[in-house]
């Protein structure tokens, strides 16, 4: 298996402050990987660095293409969908417009229309609310919308930044089930950043643990979940 995404010696900076200190990891095509770590460990920064939204050095290669010199929007067009923290909902626009925006870089109009119908089949609640302003949806519905919007790109790789944030446990279960389904059925490679380590490890097949800007542990999700020391020192449960 070749790696879809290679990250080597990634260092990222916010002004003078260095947030990542030589991060290295790979994502296998078709995998569902989770990046775990405490607050401030650098999880969000890692995702932002992949999309070139933060100043960084080192090398990030996606299917052989170097990402570091590309703009955020051109990275997205390679097929990388990023669901940011806070979901990035276009709050003043309707649910349907949000889905349209997800596919804004695509040219195939007919396929876009059928994809919107597919999203409504995936997430029936979005169909009920398709003319409603997205900002009026509940947190869970907005997260569904964010995932649907990302899928409208027909991405090869999907980056999710704390999808469980602020959601009720039951809603989180639903959402993670859907993510698993997307990964298996639509063959979308997924990298999910989570603080809810227990749930993320149930879902993922591979996991990386990050601490103060470095990868300190990697392995199969099951192994990490079962490793008492790792759990106590890094995952805190």
């Amino acid at each position: 298996m070749t790696a879809m995404l290679n990250v080597r010696d990634l260092r990222a900076y916010y002004g003078q402050v260095q947030a990542l200190h030589g991060l290295e990891f790979d994502l296998q095509e078709g995998s569902l990987t989770t990046l775990l770590g405490a607050n401030g460990a650098g999880k969000t920064t890692t995702l932002r660095a992949i999309c070139n939204m933060v100043r960084s050095t080192g090398s990030i290669e996606f299917e052989g293409t170097k990402l570091s010199s590309r703009s955020t929007e051109s990275i997205v067009k390679l097929g990388i969908a990023h669901v940011p923290q806070g979901r990035g909902t276009f709050t003043t626009m309707t649910v349907e417009e949000n889905l349209q925006l997800g596919a804004i870089s695509r040219k195939d109009k007919k396929a876009i229309t059928s994809d919107i119908d597919r999203m409504y089949a995936h997430f029936p609640v979005l169909k009920q609310r398709h003319t409603q302003q997205a900002g009026t949806l509940s947190g869970g519905e907005q997260q569904m919308l964010a995932v649907a919007r990302a899928l409208m790109l027909r991405p090869r790789l999907m980056l999710l930044d704390e999808p469980s944030f602020g959601l009720a446990p039951l809603v989180v279960r639903d959402l993670f089930k859907i993510l698993g389904k997307i990964n298996r059925e639509d063959k979308v490679t997924i990298l999910v950043v989570e603080q809810n380590a227990q749930l993320a490890l149930e879902l993922a097949d591979k996991a990386y643990v990050i601490e103060t800007g470095r990868i300190v542990m990697s392995g199969k999700a099951d192994d990490i979940a079962n490793n008492e020391d790792v759990r106590k020192s890094y995952l805190g449960y």
Partner: protein, 292 residues
């Protein structure tokens, strides 16, 4: 009663121009969060281009369309050359940029076409509209052109993909980039459209105020008043504000003793101050909460 109706209709006609200027100001404000003080001068320069084309014998509507296209391109050039490099520079840097642009355009226009006032023709003539003494054909034309323009803009922003992308880029730039929208070009496009809308306002008002390099000074202040009244975050509000300011200005000039023609402009300024003190978001604007 006749006087009142007459003043209201005339107010709506000039209000149409203020609405266009306010709309141009709001479009750029939405894109870059700054007020374009040179919007009026850009419109004036466009109008001079139209005048020059007419002098060269181009028919009116031909000149109108060419001017629109040139203004659109000019707006994009200004954004690329001056305001894109400024990027996230502090407010004062932008203000200095706008004032420089104002002075440059004003002087270049004066140098090229001198400062004497010129007649600018109206394509609608100035006879009574439909035989009525209430409103002239040019005033009716001003209202008509503005309404058509607003309708076109509404359809553009509501029903085209590029319009949707522009709205997204203005509302949530970061999310817009994450769905693959080139926000930087959307801003340039906004500048182009604002310049084109301003050129329409210039060409429509020029037959009324005469063409000269300082013709848009007052108009822009009314445009600002309209944008502030309607709410700087709302294009729809800017348009409503434009018509309201036009009507208000005329009624105040007619009915408040001592105002007359000379004190109309201070009324616009007083309106700006009042709105900013009483309801800073304007009639239709939303309060924008920023994390700092």
């Amino acid at each position: 009663m006749e006087l009142l109706l007459n003043q209201v209709l005339a107010g709506i006609a000039t209000g149409a121009i203020y609405a266009c200027m306010a709309l141009a100001v709001v479009m750029i404000y939405q894109a870059i969060d700054h007020l374009n003080f040179a919007q009026g001068e850009m419109a004036m320069f466009s109008t001079f281009i139209a005048w020059q084309l007419l002098q060269w014998g181009v028919p009116y509507w031909g000149a109108f369309v060419i001017t629109l296209a040139l203004s659109f391109a000019g707006g994009i050039v200004i954004e690329r050359a001056l305001f894109k490099p400024l990027g996230n520079a502090p407010v004062l840097t932008h203000v200095a940029g706008f004032i420089a642009l104002f002075a440059i355009i004003n002087s270049v226009a004066g140098l090229t076409w001198d400062f004497t006032i010129k007649q600018f023709p109206s394509p609608f003539g100035s006879s009574p509209f439909l035989g009525s003494q209430l409103i002239s054909t040019h005033q009716a034309g001003m209202i008509g052109v503005t309404l058509v323009l607003l309708l076109l803009l509404y359809f553009f922003f509501q029903f085209t993909r590029i319009g949707l992308a522009m709205r997204a880029a203005a509302a949530q730039p970061e999310s817009a980039r994450l769905v693959g929208i080139n926000t930087s070009w959307m801003i340039a496009l906004g500048w182009g459209m604002a310049a084109a809308i301003g050129s329409i306002a210039g060409m429509l008002i020029a037959p009324v105020v005469f063409l000269e390099p300082n013709m848009m000074g007052g108009v822009l202040i009314y445009g600002f008043a309209a944008a502030v009244l309607g709410g700087l975050s709302s294009p729809f509000g800017a348009v409503v504000g434009g018509f309201l300011v036009g009507i208000f200005e005329n009624l105040a000039g007619t009915y408040i003793p001592g105002v007359g023609n000379e004190l109309k402009l201070p009324i616009a300024l007083a309106l700006i101050v009042t709105v900013l003190v009483v309801k800073p978001t304007g009639l239709f604007g939303r309060a924008i909460v920023k994390r700092v």
